[in-house]
C-alpha cells in the first residue's frame, strides 16, 4: 500500500497522483496494488463527502482520476481484479426523467461502501426494472427522480414490481429532487433518502450492515 498515492488522490492532486502511478508501474509495483490504493483513496473521498468537506467537484474529479489510473494500469494486468462481494443494488432514474446527477452520486457512494451497483441509467422503462430484478435478484432497488413527474413513474414502477410478484423480494428506496416522505408513501416504497449518505445507511440497514 502506497500511503503517498492514497493521499495524493484523496487530496485531489491529480497530476502528481498520475505521475506517481506511472513511476510505481515502471518500478514494477503490482498493478493490483495500485488499484487497491485507488480503492482506499476513494473510500477517503467518500468519508470526506459524508463529512461535508467534499462536494460534487471532488467526486467528479475523483472519478476522473480513477479512470485515468485504470487506463494506465489495465494494459499491465495479467488477470481481472476480483469481483466485488457486496450486496447488489439496482439503481436507475425512472421513466420520463433524464436527470442523472443525484443518481450518479448515490452510485459512487454505494460503490465505495462495497455494494455492487447495477446502474440502469436514466428514463428507465418500468418493464426494464422488472426484468432486471428477475435476472439479477438484487435485494435492493433504488429509484431516482428529479422532475415532479417522477412521482407518477415511481408509483408505476413499484406497482409493476408488485404485479410481477417480486415486491417481497426487494426493498425499494426512492430519492432525488423534491422526493419526500409523502412521495415515498404515495409510491409505496420502503423508504426515501434525502441524500447519498441516507441511501448508503438504508442499504446497510437492509442488508445487515453489509
Amino acid at each position: 500500500m502506497s500511503d503517498q498515492l492514497v493521499q495524493l488522490i484523496a487530496d485531489m492532486e491529480e497530476e502528481s497522483a498520475l505521475a506517481l502511478v506511472r513511476r510505481m508501474l515502471d518500478q514494477g509495483v503490482d498493478p493490483l496494488a495500485v488499484l487497491d490504493d485507488c480503492r482506499a483513496a476513494m473510500s477517503v473521498v467518500g468519508q470526506r463527502f459524508e463529512a461535508g468537506e467534499y462536494f460534487i467537484p471532488e467526486l467528479i474529479l475523483a472519478g476522473e482520476m480513477l479512470k485515468s489510473i485504470s487506463a494506465e494500469v489495465k494494459p499491465r494486468l495479467q488477470h481481472a481484479a476480483g469481483a466485488k462481494q457486496g450486496a447488489r443494488v439496482l439503481l436507475g432514474t425512472v421513466k420520463g426523467d433524464i436527470h442523472d446527477i443525484g443518481k450518479d452520486i448515490v452510485n459512487f457512494m454505494l460503490d465505495v461502501n462495497g455494494f455492487q451497483v447495477t446502474d440502469l441509467g436514466v428514463d428507465v422503462p418500468v418493464a426494464t426494472f422488472v426484468e432486471k430484478i428477475e435476472a439479477l435478484q438484487p435485494p435492493i432497488v433504488a429509484l431516482s427522480g428529479f422532475l415532479t413527474l417522477s412521482y407518477t413513474s415511481m408509483k408505476e414502477t413499484v406497482d409493476a414490481i408488485v404485479a410481477a410478484g417480486l415486491r417481497d423480494k426487494v426493498k425499494i428506496m426512492v430519492g432525488g429532487g423534491t422526493i419526500d416522505q409523502q412521495v415515498c408513501d404515495y409510491v409505496k416504497a420502503d423508504a426515501f433518502g434525502k441524500d447519498a449518505m441516507a441511501a448508503v445507511a438504508l442499504a446497510k440497514q437492509w442488508t445487515g450492515g453489509n
Partner: protein, 424 residues
C-alpha cells in the same frame, strides 16, 4: 364550519385586476398587502385537467390561453402561468439541448433540458477573447445543427474593417451560409409569434382580472450557471473548479457584463422592471461554501446589485435547497429583490431573509399530489401564519410546475390561503 365564500366572487374584472396587481406589488416590495397573494404556476396541470396532450399545450397557443382562462376562473388565484416555452424555434434550428413532448419524448412527456459539454475545455480562450464570435461561428453550429453554415463566416471582428469588411460579404452567398441565414430568419419569425402569444396571453388574462406573474421580464442566469447549464455542463464545470479556476472566473466576468447589458436594455425596451434569474448549481450539495464564495456568489450578488441600481427587480428562483446559504442572501439590498424557494426550509427562509426579500413558495408539490384535504388545510394555515407574517410573502408551490397535483387539493389550498392569509 360555515362554507368558505370567495371574497373575489362577483367583483368586476377591472377591479379584480387592480386589487391583484396591487396585492402582488405590495408583497414584492416587502410590505403588507390586504392578504397573501397567490401565484399558480400551473404548468401541465392544465393539460391534465382539460384532457389535451402536453405537446398541444406547448404548441397551440390558443389552447393554452383557453385553459389558462378556465383554470383562472376555477381557482381564482391572483396570477397564473402555464407551461415553459414553445418548441417552434428550437425545432427549426435543430436544438440539441432541449426535448419537448412529441419531439424525442412522448406527447405527454415533460419538457427537459439535455445537458452536455457543448463547450470544450479548449474553447475557453476563444470564449474569453470574444464570446460573441465564438458563440456564433463555433457554438451555434454545434448545438443548432441547422445553423451549421455559420461556421463558414469570417471572424466577426472583421466587420470593424470598414470599407474592406465588404470584401468578406461574398461568403454570404455560399449555399450552407444562405441556408443557415434563411433558417435563422424562420426561427426568428417563429419566436416573434411566440412572443406575441405571450403578450396576448397576459392581456387576455388581465382583461379577465388576473395579474401578470411576478417573474415576467428578461431571463438571465447567475454567471456560474450560464457557464454550466448550456456550455460546460455539470461535469465539465465541476472539473473546471479544480482544473482551470482562473479561466472559469475570467469567463464569468465576461458573462456578467453582457447579461447585465441585456437585462437593462430589455427592461428599457419593454418597460418590464423585472429580471427572472433561475438558479441551478448554487444550491446546497453541489459545491462547498468556500467554492460558493469564490465561484458562485460574487457575480450573482454583483448582478443583483447592479440590476437594483438600474431600477430592475431580480426575481430569483432559488432551486434546490439553500438552507446553508441563506446568510449570503441576507446581504442583498432590502426590499429590492424577490426569492422563489423550491425545496428550502421555508420557515427558516422567513426567519433569515424575511426582512431582506419577498419570499415566494411554501406549498409542497408532493402534498398537493399525495396529501389529504386536512393536511393541505393545516399546512396552508401554518404557512399563512408563519411565512405570511408581516407581508412580503407570495403563496405558490415550490416548483414552477404542478403536473399531477389534484385539482381538489389545489382548490382547498387556494381557499385556505384566502381565508387565513388575510392581514387584519
Amino acid at each position: 364550519m360555515t362554507p368558505f365564500v370567495d371574497p373575489d366572487l362577483g367583483k368586476p374584472a377591472d377591479q379584480l385586476f387592480g386589487e391583484r396587481l396591487t396585492r402582488l406589488t405590495t408583497a414584492l416590495q416587502l410590505k403588507q398587502p390586504d392578504r397573501i397573494p397567490i401565484v399558480l404556476g400551473a404548468g401541465y396541470l392544465l393539460a391534465d385537467m382539460y384532457g389535451v396532450t402536453r405537446q398541444e399545450q406547448h404548441e397551440n397557443g390558443e389552447t393554452e390561453i383557453q385553459m389558462l382562462l378556465k383554470a383562472a376562473e376555477y381557482f381564482q388565484p391572483d396570477s397564473i402561468f402555464g407551461a415553459f416555452n414553445n418548441p417552434s424555434a428550437s425545432l427549426i434550428v435543430g436544438d440539441r439541448m432541449t426535448k419537448f413532448p412529441g419531439h424525442g419524448l412522448d406527447p405527454n412527456g415533460s419538457f427537459q433540458f439535455v445537458e452536455g459539454e457543448y463547450m470544450k475545455p479548449e474553447d475557453y480562450d476563444a470564449f474569453i477573447d470574444d464570446p460573441a464570435d465564438w458563440a456564433i461561428r463555433k457554438y451555434w453550429p454545434r448545438v443548432f445543427p441547422a445553423l451549421e453554415g455559420l461556421s463558414l463566416l469570417p471572424p466577426l471582428g472583421m466587420a470593424a474593417f470598414g470599407h474592406y469588411s465588404l470584401f468578406s460579404l461574398g461568403i454570404l452567398t455560399a449555399p450552407p451560409v444562405v441556408q443557415a441565414l434563411q433558417t435563422l430568419g424562420k426561427a426568428a419569425a417563429a419566436q416573434a409569434a411566440v412572443d406575441a402569444r405571450t403578450v396576448e396571453t397576459t392581456q387576455r388574462l388581465a382583461a379577465a382580472g388576473f395579474a401578470p406573474p411576478p417573474l415576467a421580464g428578461s431571463v438571465i442566469e447567475a454567471p456560474f450557471d450560464f457557464m454550466s447549464d448550456t456550455l460546460r455542463g455539470m461535469r465539465g464545470i465541476m472539473l473546471d473548479i479544480h482544473r482551470r479556476p482562473e479561466k472559469l472566473l475570467a469567463a464569468m466576468e465576461k458573462v456578467l457584463k453582457f447579461e447585465l447589458e441585456y437585462a437593462i436594455a430589455f427592461s428599457n425596451a419593454t418597460g418590464l422592471k423585472t429580471a427572472f434569474i433561475p438558479l441551478h448549481r448554487g444550491s446546497d450539495g453541489f459545491m462547498s461554501l468556500p467554492q460558493f464564495e469564490k465561484f458562485y456568489w460574487p457575480t450573482l450578488k454583483a448582478m443583483q446589485e447592479t440590476l437594483v441600481e438600474n431600477g430592475i427587480m431580480p426575481f430569483v428562483f432559488y432551486e434546490g435547497v439553500w438552507d446553508q446559504r441563506l446568510k449570503y442572501l441576507a446581504e442583498l439590498p432590502r426590499g429590492k429583490t424577490a426569492g422563489w424557494f423550491q425545496f428550502s426550509d421555508i420557515f427558516k427562509v422567513k426567519e433569515i431573509v424575511g426582512d431582506t426579500m419577498c419570499i415566494q413558495g411554501g406549498m409542497r408539490n408532493s402534498m398537493l399530489q399525495a396529501g389529504t384535504a386536512e393536511e393541505v388545510r393545516e399546512f396552508t394555515k401554518r404557512l399563512c401564519k408563519e411565512v405570511g407574517r408581516g407581508g412580503g410573502f407570495i403563496m405558490s408551490v415550490g416548483v414552477g410546475e404542478m403536473e399531477g397535483c389534484r385539482p381538489d387539493l389545489v382548490k382547498i389550498w387556494i381557499e385556505t390561503t384566502k381565508e387565513y392569509g388575510v392581514y387584519a
